[in-house]
């Protein structure tokens, strides 16, 4: 962490994304899946914000809404001061140069009919960066930077392994020299041995190029390894947000504690003494529980939790504010 004043690169205010549920011949809307329901947070220039949560908590939708790959239902996302929803189609396209995405499935995210060279070069073609020879040079450079040989250029995606394909996806995301990258479960589909390689590559790139990441994952070990700050999502809301050390060492929200307790411990005796895992399932985001959304699964739940939705409040924090949305959150010890 540096002492320079923090510059906010991505500012998210009360972001909501509801997907309508339509039924019947008339396609009347009968409800909505509240995938993301009121998020407020900042991502500072140069930091890596980890975003964790179970499947269905709205992590991916958040990442997509930040890049405006889905249109938010309400709220605002500002990138470097520019409100994205106010940009016209052309201005938004131009802005995409600065914000890129790395996708979860390295098999589905590369067009099988395009050569690796064409895939990595495409962003340069779209944004008309450099001349033809310059773009070719840049493609070679990028491939080498992510650890592939230049010979990969004329080959097709199916000739590569998952880890190599993910490197290709990273090269594509880097080609336009973006400032902000959303890594959406970028390592979840890879073998464990490859995951570390990719995470290290992402980290080296961040240090070298001053990148800002939103690192979406459900593997807490990797998030802890790469993140400066961590946000925990549950059913479309952020329930806890703080520095990595605050969240991992001094978790405040019972959900965060449950998640941390669920991380396997590589020691059989300690593993046996682990507290029981979180029971139940994530309720449907189309019909979230009343009050605090976590109350049906929460060991601390009281009547207050069943009726009143907890506000996000600041609860100390060492280097940075530590925010939590819980009636009963207490500083441990």
């Amino acid at each position: 962490m540096t002492d320079t004043p923090e510059r906010v690169l991505v500012q998210v205010r009360d972001l909501k994304k509801h997907f309508p549920i339509r039924r019947g011949v008339l396609r009347r809307q009968v409800g909505a899946v509240q995938a993301v329901d009121g998020l407020t947070f900042d991502i500072h220039e140069g930091e890596t914000l980890g975003l964790v949560g179970e499947s269905g908590s709205g992590k991916s939708t958040t990442g997509r809404a930040l890049l405006r790959l889905v249109r938010p239902t309400a709220g605002s996302v500002a990138f470097d001061g520019d409100e994205l929803s106010s940009l016209g189609a052309e201005a938004l396209r131009a802005r995409r140069r600065e914000m890129q995405m790395i996708f979860q499935d390295p098999y589905a995210s590369l067009n099988p009919r395009m050569t690796i060279g064409a895939i990595v070069r495409e962003p340069l073609d779209i944004h008309e960066i450099g001349d033809a020879a310059g773009r070719d040079r840049r493609v070679d450079e990028l491939l080498e930077r992510v650890g592939l040989s230049r010979a990969a250029r004329d080959r097709y995606p199916h000739e590569f392994s998952g880890g190599q394909r993910q490197r290709i996806g990273i090269a594509r995301a880097l080609s336009t020299e973006p400032r902000f990258i959303v890594a959406d479960e970028a390592i979840s589909a890879l073998d464990v041995s490859i995951q570390a390689q990719i995470v290290n590559l992402l980290q080296d790139l961040a240090d070298e190029l001053g990148l800002t990441y939103l690192f979406i994952a459900h593997d807490l070990t990797m998030v802890r390894h790469i993140s400066d700050r961590v946000a925990v999502m549950y059913l479309g809301r952020i329930v806890e947000l703080g520095t990595r050390d605050d969240v991992f060492e001094r978790p405040l929200h019972p959900y965060t504690r449950a998640l941390l307790d669920a991380v396997p411990i590589p020691d059989p005796t300690a593993e046996a003494r682990r507290p029981p895992a979180l029971g139940g399932e994530v309720p449907s985001p189309a019909d979230p529980p009343s009050g605090c959304r976590f109350h049906p699964r929460c060991p601390l739940a009281t009547d207050l939790c069943r009726t009143k939705d907890p506000h996000t409040r600041e609860a100390g924090g060492t280097a940075r504010p530590h925010r939590v949305a819980c009636h009963h959150a207490t500083q441990p010890e």
Partner: protein, 285 residues
């Protein structure tokens, strides 16, 4: 590491060449086309020379494929007929398939009201019976090869449109399409570079089938008087003329029929080979 061993990737043409049947078919198709184009040079007679002394003769050394009702040499007529049939077949197939692919991909990609309008239009075009429409058209248009190819093309785009729309609907959900959007690709680039190349399979199949259909449809048009007018032969109108005598004078049906079969088969095999050659993930056999 596989990426270290530098093997030059075979291009489309090289991969097509591995497909033996496709290469053979390409040869046959080329030979037929050249022979038909060169008909005035290689045909033994004039296509409209009537010889009433030798009417409906079976194949002989003087007339390799026999003669028709008016004593005209059948081989000459098959060669001349191919000029019209092949041209119309290929032109109409390209036109119909292109139109179908365009309409199908627009409907599938953009969805919403545009899709409703385009697909209802497709349903309507499907529902219109071909024959009455042809009769109406026949009374308004002059018979010319180009206008016939246009008409046949406009009558045969619907199947392709439906198939392509279905494919596009599923392809636009692919992550690489989202990836293209995320790097700032516009609609044209996404359709042209990310979606359509992945639909070539059904499009090529549609196009090859359309060649045969167009050749047959042209014969119906000729029969109605909209097609190419006698005495200029086409494979279609030769078949039509021979209908009544199919049992007694089989050569009148067999030779033009065989010519159509040969072209349709060849085009199908070419399409087959092309489909594999265009797909980089296809196994090399």
């Amino acid at each position: 590491m596989s990426e270290r061993t530098v093997v030059p990737r075979p291009g489309v043409w090289l991969r097509l060449r591995r497909h033996r049947l496709a290469v053979l078919s390409l040869g046959i198709f080329a030979l037929l086309t050249v022979a038909c184009l060169a008909a005035p040079l290689i045909a033994p007679y004039e296509f409209d020379t009537i010889d009433l002394a030798s009417v409906r003769e079976p194949p002989s050394s003087a007339h390799w494929m026999g003669t028709d009702d008016l004593g005209r040499d059948l081989m000459t007529r098959v060669l001349y007929g191919g000029r019209v049939s092949i041209l119309i077949g290929v032109l109409a197939a390209v036109l119909g398939t292109g139109l179908g692919a365009l309409i199908g991909s627009l409907a599938g990609y953009f969805g919403g009201r545009l899709e409703s309008v385009l697909m209802r239009l497709t349903d309507i075009a499907f529902a219109i019976p071909t024959l009455p429409l042809l009769i109406v058209l026949a009374s308004y248009t002059q018979a010319a090869i180009l206008s016939m190819a246009l008409i046949i093309g406009f009558l045969s785009w619907m199947t392709t449109a439906r198939v392509v729309r279905g494919e596009v609907l599923s392809l636009k959900q692919m992550t690489y399409v989202e990836a293209a959007r995320s790097i700032g690709a516009g609609h044209g680039r996404i359709i042209g570079r990310h979606i359509l190349p992945n639909v070539v399979g059904p499009i090529v199949v549609g196009a090859t089938l359309a060649v045969g259909n167009a050749i047959i449809l042209e014969s119906s048009l000729s029969f109605l008087g909209l097609g190419v007018q006698p005495p200029v032969p086409t494979w279609g109108n030769m078949l039509m003329d021979a209908q009544a005598t199919m049992a007694t004078k089989p050569w009148l049906t067999v030779f033009p029929g065989f010519a159509i079969l040969l072209v349709v088969l060849a085009v199908n095999f070419i399409g087959d080979g092309l489909q594999d050659a265009l797909d980089p993930t296809a196994r090399e056999s």
